[in-house]
């Protein structure tokens, strides 16, 4: 169970820390429903992000769940549903 909700701002920070940011992508724009492929994050980037979320927020995500969420909105839903 998460201690507090992971927000899109939290996710953006963790994505940047885990995997950097594509110079052609504006992460501060409307990205909640943008595919991670378009944002420049492959499955390893998402695995790395999931591991960091586990460390920071205590929620355990399985690899399958982490990499099958195609957009930030869906990813946050998986994370925050405990």
């Amino acid at each position: 169970m998460t201690i507090r909700e992971v927000t899109i701002e939290d996710l953006k920070r963790i994505l940047r820390e885990s995997a950097g940011a594509d110079e052609n992508v504006d992460l501060d724009g409307e990205i909640l429903d943008t595919d991670f492929d378009v944002l420049g994050y492959d499955s390893l980037a998402l695995l790395e992000t999931a591991a960091r979320i586990t460390r920071e927020y205590g929620v355990t995500l399985d690899d399958e769940a982490a990499t099958s969420a195609r957009t930030p909105r869906r990813f946050l839903k998986v994370v925050n549903s405990g």
């Binding site: 995997a19 950097g20 940011a21 594509d22 110079e23 390893l44 591991a51 460390r55």
Partner: protein, 393 residues
Amino acid sequence: MAPNGLGVENYWTATRNGKSGIGRITRFDPTGYPARLAGEVRGFVAEKHLPSRLIPQTDRMTRFALVAADWALADAGVRPSHLAEFGMGVVTASSSGGFEFGQGELQNLWSKGSQYVSAYQSFAWFYAVNTGQISIRHAMRGPSGVLVSDQAGGLDAVAQARRQIRRGSKLIVAGGVDASICPWGWVAQLASRRLSTSDDPDRAYLPFDPLACGHVPGEGGALLIVEDDDAARRRGVRTSYGEIAGYGSTFDPKPGNGRDPGLRQAIQLALHNAGLVPGEIDVVFADAAAVPALDRIEAAAITAVFGPYGVPVTAPKTMVGRLCSGGASLDLAAALLSIRDGLIPPTTNVSLAPEYDIDLVIAQPRVGALHTALVAARGYGGFNSAMVVRAAE
């Protein structure tokens, strides 16, 4: 990408002027280790040259390789997006893979737990990762690979590039880049028992010298753009650094069975492959192990092929150290630049031991027209390779 200069012109200017990049290790505290000197690449800030996406997933050696590939492609006037993707490949050599990255993840594993191990460890350590990252970055989907033969790899990769071009590829990014100056890499290198334990950067790495006492390791290397001649002309290339004329490679016999080490034969194979006689070689870039038994083998091989004092010999790697897979590629670059400029760089700090009948270029560079060079390289474990390069027609 060299300890005495970043980029071709910086490296070559330093090398012509005998400027060394060897010093006390700064990447970690070498106090207490038997060897404390290395050729470290200075002033390289990866973030200045690479997008942030690539930083978390790359070891230092991969960052060097990516930037070196960028610079090589720019130097060759290549825009990969303008060329057919299956016609371009990448063949690199590697000795250690991403050791520093791997050490960090091992430290995370044992000090914090498995959740702290980077997902990128899955490939960042791997010997082929430089090939992989370069090929992904530039969408080079043609035949690619990696050679792992220590110092000989720098030639073996370029030879493999030539094979692929003969089989139909148009362009191959080829060469070696290594970086393992971290505690884990250091103990691995110490295990070879070939490292100099001197603390004096100018007296530590002395190949063919009476006081030869092992080598100083270094990091870096070189990447070269190898192309099919016709394809290069079609895309408008007017000048090149030269051409690969010949290559030979052997493996040493099992110790104790009385057969000769393989370096002489590798040199002879390279000459035969180039269709040249020894007298047509203008300079030899030596492997220069600086272990007396190995120096003796190399000097004997050179003398056997070229005759006593039969060809100028040099080892500018005294200024940068032995760069594992990067060493021989950097020597190829130096050989091609020597041909371009008509100048043999010196083997710095060395006085030639009287037992060797080789014309070693020491003290200062030797000026004069050069057309053809031979580069020799030996890898720990018995690898011997030699390559002949010459001025473009």
